[in-house]
Symmetry: C2
């Protein structure tokens, strides 16, 4: 087993279990059993269970955040060069589209995005704090660009509308792919593109309301 292989296996296994069972409801033994490594490997390689959670977020969130940040900067710069305001929909899309499309970026990424969908409102301080620490700068960037896009809107209202949008996205992520009991006439949606389109329609309309 190569050097970093053990760490990767632990990260994969943690991601899988944290997403399904939650952080506190997942034991190190369940993680290491699933990873096929020794129990002590977690504390050896990561130091603690909490540091492991941070590493799980770190591994996926750094590249994901880079895509989202680049997208947002492009929206901002393009508008600046054109002497116009950034569009609300394209600003939101810059953030939302990579998030919902992330599961397709590789094995285990679906697990991760479920974890993200839940992290924001996780009752566990550890989970929420670790996540917020990773996402806060990006959130502020999105907020700033939306301020440019909607200069007439008060910061308070914009802030809450953005919160509503993020809540909608998080919940959509949690629901997607799950098979709850659907009302009659509703078919389960499994392609990300149409879900993204529906979500963007919804949050853009809500955001642009006068």
């Amino acid at each position: 087993m190569s050097l970093s292989d053990t760490k990767e296996r632990i990260l994969d296994s943690s991601e899988y279990l944290f997403a399904r069972k939650g952080f506190h409801n997942t034991s190190l033994r369940a993680i290491t059993d699933r990873a096929g490594v020794n129990l002590a490997a977690v504390n050896y390689h990561f130091g603690s269970k909490e540091a492991l959670l941070d590493a799980v977020f770190q591994r996926r969130l750094v590249p994901l955040n880079k895509v989202r940040r680049d997208n947002l900067e492009i929206v901002r710069e393009t508008a600046r060069q054109e002497g116009s305001l950034p569009g609300v929909e394209e600003s939101l899309r810059a953030f939302i589209e990579p998030t919902l499309a992330f599961p397709k970026s590789g094995t285990g990424a679906e697990d991760f995005i479920t974890l993200v969908g839940r992290a924001m409102s996780d009752p566990n301080d550890t989970v929420r704090d670790v996540f917020i620490r990773h996402i806060a700068p990006l959130f502020h960037l999105l907020f700033d660009i939306l301020r440019e896009a909607l200069p007439e809107l008060s910061p308070d209202i914009l802030f809450w509308r953005l919160q509503f949008a993020i809540g909608a996205m998080g919940h959509a992520i949690c629901m997607a792919g799950k098979s709850y009991s659907l009302p009659d006439g509703v078919t389960p949606v499994n392609d990300v593109e149409s879900l993204t389109a529906m979500l963007l329609d919804f949050v853009t309309t809500g955001m642009e309301r006068p």
Copy 2:
């Protein structure tokens, strides 16, 4: 200590701790210590920790659901008598307003509503299943009325827009009253009415989009 007093104290204490720490992260000892009762009282009065969770939901959700159901039925009946369609905003208001106003209904109700805000996307199967069992019929009723209100909308799109709205509401509940780091120019909102108004604006606009 009167007969039912112990049960009430346990319910209050559980509600408080479940909302702040989550179900799995709250121990029976923490609950009974806070309640000032003996550890064995939980299993004596409720049978198990899971049954206790169910009782916590039951106590508040039965009256809350009654208000929401009555409101929804009134909206439906009024429209029927007037020979018109139910309004989208009043339908959503019938569900959302009592939910966000619930914390004012009595001591401990703030804790409960936080619990509700998180329950929907709780990674713990127990919490989610118990909650969904309590909320499912009401959700279907709201869906049916919105179908009447927006007959031209496909069930699939309506379903997801309703999910977005519920996600927005749940997240708003989780955020309300918390003091995260706010962007410049944003002041913490502490009155429920204006939050409700903002949320209703947002989700109604998104729901009514052609």
